[in-house]
């Protein structure tokens, strides 16, 4: 990760009056596994297609390896793409599919065969050379598409929703394989996905796109733990968001008064305007549940937050057992709803709480995130 291989400079793409991509600037570093994450229709695919050359920016500039791509057609760009439908050529054998780009480039027969074999081995499809695409599973066809692009030794490999057509098990496996593959070939990967798990597990950096704009650009853990705004907090993972007013804001502590949740204390400053409307985001897994009335929650909360106790009371209104965790829907005394998840550390943990139980919960002073927008 030394220099940007792709520079997106103030790129806007309008279809009619609608801006699918709105003044986006991004640098993608060489060797990165970069993910464009966002809901469907947010413009992430349009951005990817502009890098590939299938769409032309209305405004702005895209540079690949320092060169302006404005007038370069897709077939002359040093990038290759794996399409959402894989777009494997149905009338060609696997080997012919993979060799297609090399043939066009005029690579000699001997070298072509070597490189095709090498690429197929890389995606673990050695021995499938003579198969026709309709004799293969979806996962295998995707590998063909991968090999077909990798054989060209592109500077950047673009992947459009690469795992969306696979079933859950295969998807999990391919997430690891793609990450390994990227490690092995050292090519920059740029992937588009709407699946946050996929993004978090594979990416070195993620750009969250919302309505054509970059909502946040960060590493997976920063994105999850330090979301920059409500959209990111809500889109990546699940979260409880409460509106409130900033009442204390000092370098080493802060407090927000939320009508829904009560006073929320933090062990760091947030540098927001005093008395401003802010939002507190609290992840379901960052809260601890207690049986009400034993003082344990207050005790635990007191240990974590010296300035004030981060705790709340409520009643369980819904629960769903998911095996590894149990998810609780709790109605707080204020009337607001909050979601709390609890890991099932031992076999009968899910029996500890049930519907209509009165519970207390506490959380640490570094768990809530204060969002200004």
């Amino acid at each position: 990760m030394t220099e940007p291989i792709i520079q997106i400079r103030n790129v806007t793409k309008r279809f009619g009056k609608v801006a699918a991509v709105d003044n986006v600037s991004l640098d993608i570093m060489a060797g990165e596994f970069f993910v464009l994450l966002g809901p469907s229709g947010c413009g992430k695919t349009t951005l990817l297609r502009m890098i590939a050359g299938f769409e032309v920016p209305t405004e702005g500039q895209i540079l690949i390896d320092g060169q302006d791509m404005s007038r370069v057609p897709p077939n002359k760009r040093p990038v290759n793409m794996v399409f959402q439908s894989y777009a494997v050529f149905p009338h060609m054998s696997v080997a012919d599919n993979v060799a297609y780009g090399l043939k066009i480039a005029g690579v000699g027969r001997g070298e072509r065969e070597d490189r095709v074999r090498e690429a197929l081995d890389l995606v673990k499809l050695g021995g499938f050379e003579d198969r026709m695409p309709d004799q293969m599973s979806g996962g295998q066809r995707q590998r063909v598409a991968l090999a077909r692009s990798l054989v060209m030794r592109p500077k950047v490999l673009l992947l459009d929703e690469p795992l969306s057509a696979l079933d859950a098990k295969l998807r999990a496996q391919m997430q690891f394989e793609l990450a390994d593959l990227q490690d092995e070939v050292g090519i920059t990967f740029v992937t588009v996905t709407h699946d946050q798990d996929e993004a978090l597990s594979m990416a070195s950096r993620i750009a969250v796109i919302n309505k054509g704009e970059v909502a946040q650009l960060a590493t997976p853990s920063d994105l999850y733990e330090y979301p920059a705004n409500r959209f990111v907090a809500d889109f990546v993972g699940s979260v409880n968001i409460f509106e409130g007013k900033l009442i204390i804001d000092e370098p080493d502590k802060a407090a927000v008064d939320c009508p829904g949740l009560g006073k929320v204390y933090l062990n760091h400053g947030v540098t927001g305007p005093h008395g401003a409307d802010v939002w507190v985001a609290l992840r379901p897994e960052k809260m601890y549940l207690h049986v009400q009335g034993k003082g344990k929650a207050v005790e635990a909360a007191a240990k974590d937050a010296p300035e004030g106790h981060n705790f709340a009371r409520g009643q369980i209104k819904g629960m769903s057992y998911l095996g590894d965790i149990t998810l609780f829907e709790i109605k707080l005394d204020s009337g607001a709803m909050i979601r709390v998840s609890r890991p099932n550390l031992s076999r009968h943990d899910q029996e500890d709480f049930t519907w209509d139980d009165k519970v207390s919960m506490h959380w640490r002073a570094d768990s809530p995130v204060v969002l200004l927008g």
């Binding site: 299938f54 057609p73 793409m81 439908s85 494997v88 066009i104």
Partner: protein
């Protein structure tokens, strides 16, 4: 209570109903008996060919020796061949244009394209007669150039069928395949040749066969555009029939029917295999 007992039948087992079987048989007979009569009477040992007088194959020999029939057959096949080639090129290009591009008056062009299918043949025939005499189309050229007018007329009503078939096939094309080809370095023409043409190949085959058979058996339009020496098989048969149907006409017709059936069977087989191979992606 045996009042409501019926033979239990699965919803789609129509073939088990006697009534249905009888009906289907009747329809089949209605459609094909005339053809079988024609074929049967090609073996009739009678010059007048009205009453059955015994079996013979000699009229196939007579038809074989008939130069007039041969010439007409050669004319028909030549016209059909060239009409097919031109229809295929023009028709598929029109299909790709309508599928691929947006341009002013597109829907008007789209509508006009199928006009030759809708307009009554007799009108087209008269139109061509008037057209060719108005522009002073040269007559009396040597074979095969004397067939030019008929070929042009045939292309006019054949190519919309090719367009129709090819367009239907194009609708199933995954544009990402073309983009993938370009992404791998192919230019516009290479992507067209390597990805789009293979995809529409089954439609090209069936479109060609459609054009060929339409051209081969056209009578009305050909009748109006033919000049002395350019009689096609249907036109010749028409003029022969006026003097009474002889079994050699039956024989020649039988051969034409078998030829057409054979071509259709080949087309279905080709298209069936190809279509199956490419529906998966």
């Amino acid at each position: 209570m045996a009042l409501f007992t019926r033979t239990v039948r699965a919803p789609l087992e129509y073939s088990k109903s006697l009534w249905m079987r009888g009906w289907v048989t009747m329809v089949m007979l209605f459609l094909y008996i005339p053809l079988f009569v024609l074929m049967a009477f090609s073996f009739n040992d009678s010059k007048r060919n009205v009453v059955w007088r015994g079996f013979t194959t000699k009229y196939y020999g007579v038809a074989w020796e008939n130069d007039q029939l041969w010439n007409a057959m050669m004319n028909s096949l030549t016209i059909a061949f060239f009409a097919t080639i031109f229809s295929l090129v023009i028709g598929s290009m029109a299909a790709v244009m309508l599928w691929r591009f947006r341009f002013p008056l597109k829907s008007a062009v789209d509508g006009t394209m199928s006009l030759p299918i809708i307009v009554p043949e007799i009108c087209l025939g008269v139109a061509f007669l008037v057209f060719f005499s108005t522009v002073g189309w040269p007559t009396g050229l040597g074979w095969p150039f004397n067939l030019g007018a008929i070929i042009i007329a045939h292309v006019t009503f054949c190519f919309p069928f090719v367009t129709m078939v090819v367009r239907a096939r194009l609708a199933t094309f995954n544009r990402e395949q073309e983009e993938a080809a370009k992404d791998l370095g192919a230019g516009e023409w290479q992507a067209f040749r390597d990805v789009l043409i293979p995809h529409i190949k089954p439609a090209l085959v069936s479109g060609a066969l459609l054009a060929f058979t339409l051209s081969l058996d056209d009578f009305v339009i050909t009748f109006f555009t033919s000049t002395p020496g350019t009689d096609t098989f249907p036109v010749l048969v028409y003029s022969l029939v006026k003097r009474g149907v002889t079994p050699d006409v039956n024989a020649a017709s039988t051969i034409l029917i078998l030829f057409t059936v054979l071509l259709t069977a080949i087309a279905l087989k080709l298209q069936g295999a190809k279509a199956l191979a490419s529906t998966h992606s």
